[in-house]
Subunit: 331 residues, 4 copies
């Protein structure tokens, strides 16, 4: 389904080349200051325009349809709409029979019996992350001052930022694409956010992270590295009454619950599937594997625009679970 | 919360040293063959007894309290109970003031205002995975023949099985513990399981995986490795009308939906937190960092017993989403 | 929360005098024929214009923002938007201190700390039923041929249709309002829709019915009358292998599950709270009970426009539970 | 499904003649005083033994399996178990082909393809209300001092208590049964419990009320009577700054939200379906309508034992929505 959350609930809708993308956010307390200006910075971070991003450029101006009055939330659900304007649907007509490698074209056709919107990937498009970023802006208002901050820490296999422009330029010149790793940190975490088992902080963050198109992995704290450590190395020693630990191999979480140290997780983003160079694909008309050249306009590295999306889903996860924490603490 | 799923819904309860551990599984169609004997094999795989596992031994005999009659499910919820028998609660009395590194002792005390059951980790205990394995047995009945198969592929940093006994013995002799990586594969997957965004197959699997105590990371297909690949390397070429791909970098999933190829994911399990050697911890009585020696009986490598748990949650995730798929296909 | 349903999920948003009212409907199979024209008839039934309805007239033209392409659903969530156009917000400025009897003005102020949108009742407005009717149109496509049909059976205490115009005219001339009772029937019901206990067909219908502003009661089959009957009178005798019963005191439902006979329920709708004649209310500024005269434009009998809303929620309830039924039947 | 609630979540299981009935209650804050003794009074009210109740007598001793330690809740899910002891399963063997009028025998057979447990109605049995009452005991701890109080106000058509014993004796002597109406009041309600639309206080109460076997109608405040009133009669005049109203036609709820006045609702309970006198039913073996005489042991009036169940679900509804209220109030 296209909604998530019991306390901070978001519902997303829209297709890449349809009339609009939107999100409804529910569960927001009344009286939270919120205006169009609050969305600007995060929406701009998600936009194309930098080196390695698609030349399709959308204004991405949010229209708040409900739930906000005189600069404050009213307690009613907040609906936010983005009109699609810069669409070129002609590019996508042959995807039903020539599914693009790495895309959802094939599974969508199978699952939706050919009725799915193929244009620009339809509802599967990365353009839907616009809705996640908008919801994230609202979530950040709720979770402050525990604000997530996400950035790329590795691109095309390199952790050296100085090399990244070159890596992108090379891949682009070769009609190819690259992946990256995004790290997200949340400083100022309160103790007690999350629940044992199914509503663990890791479960909710991971669930939402894998809702972002192109994500292949998530790890917390020492992550996959912990599997190669001894317990004596990986365990975090508590050093004071606030629960501060000498190391943070657990990524700020024990038993699914925040321990007051920074929450730290990393997200692996695959290289963009749409590449300019010729690829092979199965042609369902001819029954042959044939060359395919993908038109349209695409990012060389989707990780570049995904950092703010990861930040958004982290804020959403925290907003969801902080509400639960207040609940449990209440009685 | 301690329940999960909209279609295949499980609810777990119990504490390590309380009277019992249990699970209620709802949403099971009537007429599925199910008996106590079906649980034996998976429960035995989760049990201790092998090298590197805890000497606490429980019979783990399931009692089916409802939902099954004459060897078949009735369509009513299935409640399964395991009595705890081999408990030694004396070992755990001082955890409130001397929280064990890597455990939930500290966060539980904070979150539950000191009312939590400390004995053996209480509700945070790995013993609760018994409930997951039991639910997994039921789930496997639903998802067959798409049965998940999980095994350790790396232990203590080594991918060579021949070295593992030695790695464990060494760690044990040094009063330490080791981690591991579990790989789960599902052959025979139908096309179309999972949804775009929040109910993506990756999202549901990852959500449940991080409900297993001790998991630090999850990756699908090429996983973190994909972040270092070019699009032309990572993309999977479709080679026939069934959607079979030449490679499986996507781990059998596109756009959140199974593509008919094997679903493949890997799970990083941290080294056991409870180690025999002396560790430092903060003493909340004295306000000093002091040495702690953990009593009780523990595994050297929890990954050894976690493979069947990973298999269980994979089956649960599939059961949940296959129901959704049938739903969508119906009309 | 402003969403409902696990299988057929709707999310509503909007305020009476805000920019728009809308609904997102998720869980719709791909390939269902759906176009703007499908909404016309039901939306017109909900509209004002008849004797006894408000002079505020809105075009109520739906805009489908997503989930429909070339006249068929795509399997993606369907967002439907209605712009508010004929608003006169000046009428409502004093409601914060002079709450209208029978309205949510007082509770909304308390619950939302004064940040709620007061204009026209804001999010509490009966105008939101527009979203329910739109969702109902989609639901009817799913449940056909088991189509709910609702109509007024009693108005202002009279079951004689011939008297109703006169009853309304009299109440209007006296600056007052009247209530009514709506009966909804669903012919062509399949056997097996609904679940024991929490997802009983009655539970889901009742839940949604009480989501309609102004509803005071719901009864099934013999309803409150059954409490005055003997078991030998109320029990329905099965007369053939299809489960057809000689009487239908159970309203077509046993144990929460449809038995194949028509589902029948009745809904009590209160008289419109906004009346033209002077009423007393508490003035929170002066601390006195004082006369209040309500401006704005209002219905004399909201039941007149509510029948199609009841029909809509019946269809939504069926769509939700029919999906569940298919699920259970599958294995 | 057999679970309900987002904040106060209960899951029920069991069959009338299976090993046990149980409930898991989740979302309870830590530190709430709770012991076996707390259950006694409500469980006894639900028990048989009075005039007009079944001679099947069960001890109904709850066993708390988890979530409670040293007389207080721990914050973990609370599982409560009741063993079935006094079962006589031989009585029910022919129900598959001779469905009892007014019972779920026919729909259960159809829905569950004959795999359902027929003995004593199986999972459809009124015995499952034991689980609701137990959950209600926990809920009352949360909602106090806003404690629901339910009692029969009409039995067999009479509102005069003095006549009830006679009404029951007459019906019993004639091998018949009678219905009744239960009224539930909640004094001491805080303002602000409930949400507009789908989580309205009426919606949640009505949803849970129709989960009780045998309920045919629910009404709030003036209820069905309001449909026969003028707005000037039905509207409640606020008379002081606390929101106290001169009348309570709204049953203490406006716009789905409690207004601080007593919440009042009434529940219509049908006459017991199992009656001693001969009834006609369809024999699926012979294809004929034939006489049926129901064995087993039954209540003459299930309303007698249902009052405490109504009280329980009212407490559950309040516990669910009060948590939501705290949530919204928090920021």
């Amino acid at each position: 389904m296209n909604s998530f959350g019991r306390n901070f609930r978001l519902t997303i809708f829209g297709e890449s080349h349809g009339p609009a993308i939107g999100v409804v956010v529910d569960g927001i307390p009344a009286g939270v200051a919120l205006s169009i200006a609050d969305f600007e910075s995060d929406l701009r971070r998600r936009q194309s325009g930098a080196v390695g991003t698609t030349p399709r450029h959308e204004a991405d101006t949010p229209e708040i349809l409900s739930g906000v009055l005189d600069g404050h939330t009213t307690g009613a659900p907040i609906a936010i709409l983005f009109r699609n304007e810069n669409t070129r649907s002609g590019d996508y007509s042959h995807l039903a029979t020539h599914p693009r490698p790495g895309h959802a074209d094939f599974v969508a056709k199978e699952k939706f019996a050919g009725y799915n919107d193929l244009r620009g990937g339809g509802h599967f498009s990365g353009r839907l992350t616009l809705a996640l970023v908008a919801a994230g802006v609202v979530a950040k208002k709720i979770v402050a001052p525990a604000l997530p901050s996400a950035q790329i820490v590795e691109l095309g296999g390199s952790g050296n930022k100085a090399e990244w422009d070159n890596i992108i330029a090379t891949a682009q010149s070769e009609g190819d694409s690259v992946g990256g790793i995004i790290e997200c940190r949340v400083e100022g975490m309160p103790i007690g956010v999350g629940e044992p088992f199914f509503d663990s902080l890791e479960s909710i963050i991971a669930h939402l992270t894998f809702s972002i198109p192109g994500v292949r992995g998530v790890e917390f704290g020492d992550g996959f590295g912990s599997a190669r450590m001894r317990g004596s190395q990986h365990n975090d020693l508590i050093i004071n009454a606030n629960g501060t630990t000498a190391t943070n191999g657990a990524g700020g979480i024990n038993g699914g619950i925040s321990n007051g140290n920074p929450v730290v997780f990393r997200v692996a983003v695959k290289p963009t599937s749409s590449i300019a160079r010729e690829q092979q694909t199965y042609n369902f008309d001819t029954g042959q594997v044939e060359p395919l050249r993908i038109g349209g306009r695409h990012d060389v590295c989707i990780a570049l625009r995904a950092a703010v999306v990861v930040e958004a889903i982290a804020a959403i996860a925290l907003a969801e679970l902080m509400a639960e924490r207040e609940l449990k603490m209440e009685n």
